[in-house]
């Protein structure tokens, strides 16, 4: 079952370029539990850390759903994690490996670390649809 959630982002810079929409089709191996935390990054040097340009949340419904986010046109890398236990953060083990499902735009995967910004980045110009498969 697919559900669309529209999220208006508060992080839009005033006077920014024309608003565009990214439609995220998110799939999770842990259906129906917790919330998705979506971080839209526009800077390579801080990706995928806490300093994102835009953020959004959505309750997890089923195994796949669509979440729409509005951002100005631009180049973005998107990180999504699923907060299973409702503590509002991405849990990780002793060395920082996430212990909750995560995924990135272009389904980018890292090697010995998170993916690089350029491997996950997409150019948004008007409407854009992305599939993100979370893995745990």
């Amino acid at each position: 079952m697919r559900t669309t959630t529209l999220i208006l982002l508060v992080g839009l810079a005033a006077g920014s370029a024309q608003a565009a929409g990214i439609e995220l089709a998110i799939q999770t191996p842990r259906p129906g539990t917790g919330e998705y935390y979506i971080a839209v990054h526009d800077r390579a040097d801080t990706f995928p850390g806490a300093e994102q340009a835009h953020a959004a949340r959505a309750r997890v419904i089923g195994a796949s759903q669509t979440v729409a986010v509005e951002v100005p046109d631009g180049r973005y890398a998107i990180a999504v994690y699923q907060d299973l236990n409702g503590n509002g953060r991405l849990d990780s083990n002793l060395v920082g490996i996430p212990t909750e499902p995560v995924g990135f735009s272009r389904n980018a995967r890292g090697s010995m670390g998170p993916p690089k910004f350029d491997d996950a980045a997409v150019d948004v110009n008007g409407e854009h649809r992305l599939d993100i498969q979370l893995t745990d």
């Binding site: 002793l94 920082g96 090697s111 010995m112």
Partner: protein, 506 residues
């Protein structure tokens, strides 16, 4: 399913690491299978690197000599790489293949053997695909998938430990896999706690006489190497775990536990993390030997892991430590020292083609770390030694006798051919030499029921008879080791050469 498939990567490994040899991704259809077949024709010992295609093996053993000692009843478990070939291709390193766990049952009715592959994620996925998919310790085929999670490459091929009612199939770079001790069925990767999920748990845990299990793992990300420390209670519950950041990322296979300390020897054989992250080379080939740097020794206070001291020793390479003890401000330990990592970089690769151009040998090396003065000293105690073991009651304590394999006289193969007992106090040794065509494998120390004396024990191990092409099981009385085995039995087949095991008394 895949656990924690994300941000970091940990030390892969069968037994240690080195980095030279052919670099870069390898193409399909390379010639290793053909080279090995040719090697088999030339060298009878190469049967020790054969691949086992069957998922299970099962057979009774034929008694060759002596009687199974009264009191020696239970199961002897061993682990080792066995699926060396799949889909017409052969791995390029001894440490790569999926582990097969073996159980030798010692009963009043005789001896039986059962072998079964550990059903790791990797093993199931590759069996289904009919080909190798995941990068291995020393092999990266060009068409292998990338890896963002160490357990995706977990071969569970290095040791097996009975613990708290289950078996732990152990590797170096990922989780332990839980197994059923009776039918050798695989459960799942062991999760000691949420904070340690998916982290490496080395193949050399140390169990003190009170049942406390200590272990470590080396976790690697593109930005750092971290030593994970574990303390586990006899009931299997995790008492403590912590990550200690390292400046460099050495290959660390084993450690020593003394009454007050955990001691790690870190050879200057360093993972080039960014090179490995580029995914062009195997884990092994991403290492660099830096002999201008020292071997570093890290001492961690068991009572307070934040109390740590570093020492420096001459450059060298090591897989295995015999043991250690502390006395006042001085820590004593010994290890099997190689002058360089050729054993893992060259030897363990060449034998996969049925060839041995070198015969690396380790010497028993005694180390004295003075905590008051901050000094480290080492000296060679004996030549030609590997696979050291202690009496279980002496782990973390002062020991007099150290059991291991050795090389003695002529052999038709480049492996060990003798079992040795070294008297650390007197410097004397007892040894037994097998036939020149026999390859000795690890012999574990099994205490005689109720006795803590270091020689009140049996040594139980395997021998690959390359002439008869059968694996034998041998039992020595530790007190009269030089007299030869008190009991020998043989399988109807040859098992591939394995690594480590343990005995679970009935």
């Amino acid at each position: 399913m895949h656990r924690r498939e994300f941000l970091r990567y940990s030390a892969l490994g069968g037994v240690g690491i080195a980095a030279s040899g052919p670099a870069g991704p390898l193409l399909a259809g390379d010639d290793w299978l053909a080279a090995y077949r040719e090697g088999r024709r030339e060298n009878a010992w190469a049967i020790g690197l054969r691949s086992i295609d069957a998922e299970r093996l099962e057979a009774p053993l034929e008694v060759l000599h002596g009687q199974l000692p009264q009191g020696l009843r239970g199961s002897f478990y061993r682990n080792g790489p066995a699926l060396h070939e799949l889909g017409g291709r052969r791995y390029h390193h001894w440490f790569d293949a999926d582990g097969m766990v073996h159980a030798f049952r010692f009963t009043d009715a005789g001896l039986t053997h059962r072998g079964r592959y550990v059903q790791t994620h990797k093993h199931r996925a590759e069996r289904e695909a009919g080909r190798f998919l995941r990068p291995a310790f020393g092999t990266r085929f060009a068409d292998m998938t990338s890896l963002d999670n160490p357990d995706a490459a977990n071969a569970a091929n290095t040791s097996v430990l009975p613990h708290n009612g289950r078996l732990l199939a152990l590797w170096e770079g990922g989780s332990a896999y839980g197994m059923n001790p009776e039918d050798l069925g695989t459960d799942a990767p062991v999760v000691w706690s949420d904070a340690t999920a998916g982290l490496p748990f080395s193949a050399h845990p140390s169990i003190e006489p009170d049942g406390t299990l200590w272990n470590f793992g080396l976790s690697v990300s593109v930005s750092s190497g971290q030593l994970i420390l574990y303390e586990i209670a006899p009931d299997g519950s995790l008492r403590r775990a912590q990550a200690v950041a390292l400046e460099e990322t050495p290959m660390v296979h084993d450690f020593a536990v003394t009454q007050r300390y955990l001691v790690f020897l870190m050879p200057p054989f360093h993972l080039q993390r960014e090179r490995f992250a580029d995914q062009a080379m195997s884990f092994l080939d991403s290492h660099r030997w830096e002999p201008h740097k020292p071997m570093r020794a890290l001492v961690v206070d068991k009572a307070d892991w934040s109390r740590r001291r570093w020492f420096e020793l001459p450059a060298g390479f090591v897989f295995h430590l015999g043991g250690g003890w502390d006395e006042g401000q001085v820590i004593h330990l010994d290890y099997e020292r190689y002058p360089d990592p050729g054993i893992v970089a060259d030897f363990a690769r060449g034998i996969m083609r049925g060839r041995a151009d070198t015969e690396p040998s380790a010497d028993v090396t005694g180390v004295r770390l003075d905590m008051a003065r901050g000094t480290a000293r080492q000296e060679t105690l004996a030549e030609h030694s590997e696979f050291p073991r202690l009496h279980p009651a002496r782990v973390g304590r002062r020991y007099r006798y150290r059991y291991s394999l050795s090389v003695d006289g002529e052999a038709t193969h480049p492996f060990q051919n003798a079992v040795r007992r070294l008297d650390m106090d007197a410097g004397a040794e007892h040894r037994y030499r097998f036939a020149p065509t026999d390859i000795a494998e690890e012999h574990v120390v099994v205490r005689k029921p109720g006795l803590d004396d270091e020689t009140a024990a049996w040594l139980v191990g395997t021998v690959l008879d390359t002439r008869a092409q059968r694996t034998r099981l041998t039992v020595f009385d530790a007190a009269t080791l030089a007299d030869g085995p008190v009991f020998e039995a043989a399988l109807p087949y040859a098992l591939p050469l394995g690594f480590h095991g343990n005995f679970a008394p009935a």
